[in-house]
Symmetry: C2
Subunit: 448 residues, 2 copies
Amino acid sequence: MPDKTVGVALLGCGTVGGGVVNILRDHHDTLLRRTGLDFQLRHVAVKGPEDYPPNAAQLPMTTDANSAIDDPDSHVVIELVGGITVANAFIERALRLGKPVITANKSLLALRGHELFALARQHNTCVAFEASVGGGIPIIDAVLRGLVANRIDAILGIVNGTCNFILTQMTRHAWSYDHALKEAQKQGFAEANPTLDVSGRDAAQKLAILASLAFNVRVAESDIHLEGIDRLQPDDILFAKELGYVIKLLAIAERNPNHSPATAEHSSLSLRVHPTLVHKDDVLADVAGPFNAISIYGHALGHALFYGRGAGRTPTASAVVADLVGVALGATPLTFKQLRTYPDLTPKANVLPFDQLRSRYYIRLMAHDRPGVLAQVTAALGRHAISLSAILQREGRDADHVPVVITTHAANEGAMQAALAEIDALPAIAPPTVCLRIVDPPTEFAAD
Amino acid sequence: MPDKTVGVALLGCGTVGGGVVNILRDHHDTLLRRTGLDFQLRHVAVKGPEDYPPNAAQLPMTTDANSAIDDPDSHVVIELVGGITVANAFIERALRLGKPVITANKSLLALRGHELFALARQHNTCVAFEASVGGGIPIIDAVLRGLVANRIDAILGIVNGTCNFILTQMTRHAWSYDHALKEAQKQGFAEANPTLDVSGRDAAQKLAILASLAFNVRVAESDIHLEGIDRLQPDDILFAKELGYVIKLLAIAERNPNHSPATAEHSSLSLRVHPTLVHKDDVLADVAGPFNAISIYGHALGHALFYGRGAGRTPTASAVVADLVGVALGATPLTFKQLRTYPDLTPKANVLPFDQLRSRYYIRLMAHDRPGVLAQVTAALGRHAISLSAILQREGRDADHVPVVITTHAANEGAMQAALAEIDALPAIAPPTVCLRIVDPPTEFAAD
């Protein structure tokens, strides 16, 4: 005897939706035994008959999503149609009826999450969205519940499997970006139009969601400095390796460390997505292929990392169904009326202007191989108070220019950009000089 | 205005208890803002005045734990006294009063968890124990909630920071076990009497808890095959490295793969803690020093890994306070009356007898350097249907014996032990031959 029958309206039945259908069918009895919940799929709504899944005959198909939402026997609504306008309308309709909504729609949440959370609160219900970041990794739960006792100081994530797959292939096989992208497309890890992924936008949307929850403020996608992987050159991956680093596309949200503990809640945030040199001893360096991983630094927990499949049919469906159980048991964080701050993301993030970032840098310049060039370059850096950490000069492959790789100690982004402008104006330099940021491994290894 | 005042009775104020006191003091307002909960420390109970913490004057100290539990203003009881008998009495006393209990006591849970869970259910309350495994890593939450939609097929964990610290030092510096242990003790990562850790018992207790929850059966510590790290030799760490492996103490719980999906819930479990050769590309291979990490394989999620500090004052306190919030909000899994199976661990695990384990093996024998020895060894292996994967023979450092390292394809543990007995009986072999198990990396890398 079930404790409770839970009627489910599923909107959208593509890759992830199909995975949810399978879990609810194949694991119905396991879920019943584990939770006492008898999940019943009441409606599977798609746009038109052309979107019917292969097993449509066995499913309660409809093309009328609104009626599916309105049906009193639909207790929970799962939104997997994607996009902004239509998805938003479905979600708002369900929330206004007081029905909990589960969604994987990171674009919508990054854009309108704060409004949807407020609407949910207003109607005494909730939006659950574990599947929106990190696929099946229970990272939202970790941030909201597992680390609730922590002041979170930093999040560093590999949150886009397409980019990580491409970078892994470029690193392992010394492939060009174009070659690696083609391979990713062939293997199903990149879309025909890969722009959203390789530009870093997808990662920025996920970071906006994570950072909002971690820092209890509203982070917009536009708050995040964005550099993609599409201009990355194999040479830099090789040089980085020689210096002990691996290049990863990291999504980073960091509290400005120049805060006193008392003002930590209001300290400014550095928010950015860019290719990053990660030390080879950092656990993030070993996250290969399509996997995702998110490092979190909490004041009490220290460094923690959550790793797994960040996309795909069944991993994402695993997170959707976990939310379904949480929502049905009333245990999802955003259902807690007591969890007042989380759904209330009205205060906007205090964003550290990107040119005020402090970072270590990797730069590669192409220099005429003649005396005095290095002196000119180091002089330009010195004028902007940037001190060198290492220099690597190789014999050039063409007669004209040789690559010179320089890493720096911590410097100011604005100063670095000014120095780069001067360097690129030198007659002996073939611009543009490549500039990447270095993230050092955590310095934690001591006993308490 | 708080939504709810939560009175806390803290039993025990050592390392972790002191961390809890600090978080409740320093983050009182943050917790109030995030959760609406106003945590008030009502009592801090210790055995005698000699156990008073340095800041005792600022705390509601008592030596009468029973009165602290009984106080109607103590809504939640945190048990951090450790040990079995006294802790058990305190927990039972609180549960019989219907008060939720939070504990980090893995020894007690491994021994009597099923009884305490049943008692909690009977009194309509709960036991929360996130801090009992993996320190601050929210791994219990991940197993019970994040992976609720999964059939869990395997758990492989580095769950003892002391052993991992010792192994990391042995690997990095080619130190002996004794030398690395002394260093760990000096740095505060090992106890004066390290037996519980280095024997693997601590890891086995944690595995008993994790496996019980993952497989919904009762796993006793005595169900788990145990081999510690105290007899590990630096030579084997070096040979393993040459073969592409790192030696880690893994706690492993695996569903016997020879099951049909229909009988998966009743399939036998392989349960073991032993030094293991982990492929260097496996994320577990990079977990260094005192850190812990737990790999979980779910049928839907695939491979996920949870990494962080497995011990220490503030990480463990972070988990205790997360449980405090969960319990106070009624959101801890074991508070759900609907989560019927989890607290009910009456069915005993169907344990695969250790000699029926199938594994790949690493063996190192010390052989007289004369013709025909290798033929005798391979014949012994062949008689037990064990086929070789690789052989590594080095010049010996003494005239008498040279090390011969052999890795095998998957074989039966019983067959391997029988073959080893024959090998050690050969006149040309100096026993005992070292035998370690190899765990191969996940074969997942494909698109769905």
